[in-house]
Amino acid sequence: MIKKRWGLALVTAVSVSLALSGCSPSTSEPGGPVTLSYWDFLDPSQDNPRSKALKENVANFEAANPDIKINLSVVSLGDMLNRLPQSAAAGQAPDVFKMFTPLVPQMASAGVYSPLPDAASEVTDWLRPTDTFAGPDGKQVAVPYEYRTCALYYNEKILSQIGATVPTTYEEVVDVAQKAAAAGFTGFGTGFSDTDNSAIISTFFNCFMTQVDQDIWTEDGQADFATQKAEEFGNFLAKLRDAKALGSNVVSDTYGTVADGMASGTVAMSVMGTERIVSFASQNPDIKWTALPKASTGDTTGTTIGWTLGIGSGSKNTEAAWKFIEYMTGPEAGAKMATGGEVPTRAATYEQPFFSTPEAKTVNDIAAYVKSNSEPRTYSNNWTSLATGLSQAGQRLTLNNLSGSEFIRSAQDAANKK
């Protein structure tokens, strides 16, 4: 019995110590080796250019900094949004993590970030202003890792088959999409599912609001965009619906399924992020891209979006974390990630030899497009509510026949709902 009791005590002690060690934050000795926890949505073990570039960049950083090891965890954006606020509240936030631009203020409000160290202000060659990446106290919490904006993708073969030219206005998009739909294709690919954080419709909305010069939030963070300008977006979707040019399963379509549809040649057109240019080119040579169609303002300028890097709240390794971020956004790593089709964010990167090679033509074109056809936006701390609201409004637009203005108002109400 005594043995059993000691056994029980031992098991309990081991379990408790294991549990406590699992819950305790990683610590490091000053000057000693450091292991940085890093969350990224890209899986470096995958066989695609972006993953390979990430893997090489991490390996090169470790080789250049033998005292710093990177412990990379692959976490999808959806999981990150759930887990980061929880881990930060428990003092377990990763040292470094990637975050989608529109979500930076929301995650900052959730206390997920540590302010960047003073050394961050020494980097001054960002291609876009970084003051949009500030936390509630106004301190900068993230730096841009990659830029992208929206573009119009179209299937050249389908357009040729229906005798249409590439549309340059949203009115023309509706006409061409209607013809494509009549020929048995999905005329215009978008999706109202919120299973992927409403990625496709919210990205499109974000760009469109810049096109029509419509602010999304008031200064106190309330969504306030239900104006005539924004209704143009709702009206465009309503016209596509009435023209039967949206996919039959638009309600449950996601960014991924629309991209699959484009790649497989069943979707004639779509507005998606520029990060798809390289992958579409390799998947289906019929897919071409061009600037966004003109809105009523005549503007084709979308929003500069992309991914950022920041330091997790409570990180004990801010110095090493910044060193890693500086490397990953720096010229050497930037040139490497550009080989995967991602657009680097610092001017110095474009002085690397790679950008003078023929292989860099596509990424140079994308970078030039992002520069000329997009502007950064300041976000409020309720992007997820807005994105979900847009999806649900889109579902109602399809299933309940909402008008364009009802769509916009419904999305705005959802964004402001607690």
């Binding site: 759930n82 599912s193 919120d194 699959d260 997820t384 509510s385 607690k418």
Partner: protein
């Protein structure tokens, strides 16, 4: 005289052994705590603690995962003034009872088949258990792929038959039916295992007697099998209802509560409030309501259980 006193004799002679017995009993009684304390600790830690914490957060303002000042019953007032709440409760009931109505007979039928099977029993049992071997996320993903209107096998089949592509997740009613069926498919082996265990305790003699009296399969099922399974059925109903009322993963993977909230059960609402709107206080209030719904459903089920078995 004293030696003739049986009581005293018994007392005197029994004193040492009774003392030992009393000591052993006391030691045994003390040993009970070795078992009771860990169970109580775990119960307090994994049930009572979170329940109190949930109620506590429901009574306070929250910002993400930070608990702010006391707000009284504001979260509950907001919950019950939400015009969408009745629809969510209705969806929860339709989903839970719908899945139960499918999984219960499916589980019972499978158990009866397995119980009467003499050849390939292991293979058939493995086949019947297959859905339950998948995690809920895997099951949801498999069905999502299978029913995908663009490249899913279901679409290929329906199109080959001259119907259009499967598009179950694009309409509120078909989406609810789909997630209900998927959940029933995933969970029926749980019922099957419980029924199979109970079926193996039914005395074979009863069936033989009934056979001698000229009873057929229907009589055997109604007069022997069902009465013996009554308490098991209630247990299965309780287990499955709790599972369905608390189901999140399959719905999350497939519809996330859409389209237009048609598959948002109370559990899914808790998830969405918590992780989409980061409304910890509101999610806690909904979770308390969910707990109450669970208790009511369980109590209703228990009422059908035989008193003598309680």
């Amino acid at each position: 005289m004293s030696t003739n006193n049986p009581t005293r004799t018994s007392y005197e002679t029994a004193t040492p052994s009774t003392g030992i017995q009393a000591f052993r009993r006391a030691r045994k009684d003390r040993m009970v705590w070795v078992y009771v304390v860990p169970v109580t600790a775990v119960f307090l830690f994994v049930f009572v603690g979170p329940l109190i914490y949930t109620a506590w957060t429901a009574l306070h303002e929250t910002s993400y995962y930070q608990i702010g000042k006391f707000s009284g019953l504001n979260s509950f007032a907001e919950l019950f003034s939400d015009s969408e709440l009745p629809a969510r409760i209705w969806t929860t009931l339709v989903f839970s009872l719908g899945a139960l109505v499918i999984a219960l007979p499916a589980g019972l039928l499978s158990a009866i088949v397995l119980n009467n099977l003499h050849r390939f029993k292991r293979s058939v049992r493995s086949l019947f258990l297959l859905p339950w071997l998948f995690s809920q996320a895997t099951a949801g993903t498999i069905w999502l792929w299978f029913l995908n209107p663009n490249y899913g096998p279901a679409s290929a089949i329906t199109q080959a038959l001259g119907f259009g592509p499967t598009d179950v997740f694009s309409s509120p009613n078909s989406a609810l039916v789909a997630v209900t069926l998927m959940t029933a498919w995933w969970s029926y082996p749980q019922a099957m295992l419980l029924f199979l265990g109970a079926l193996q305790t039914v005395p074979v003699e009863l069936y033989e007697s009934l056979k001698v009296d000229g009873g057929g399969i229907r009589h055997a099922f109604l007069n022997v099998t069902l009465p013996h399974l009554r308490n098991t059925i209630v247990s299965v109903v309780i287990v499955l209802l709790m599972l369905y009322v608390q189901m999140v993963t399959i719905i999350l993977v497939t519809t996330r509560g859409g389209p237009i909230g048609s598959t948002e059960t109370l559990s899914m609402r808790v998830y969405n409030q918590m992780f989409d709107r980061f409304d910890l206080s509101g999610a806690s209030a909904t979770a308390i309501l969910l707990f109450a719904v669970n208790i009511v459903l369980t109590l209703v089920a228990i009422r059908f259980r035989r008193k003598e078995s309680l």
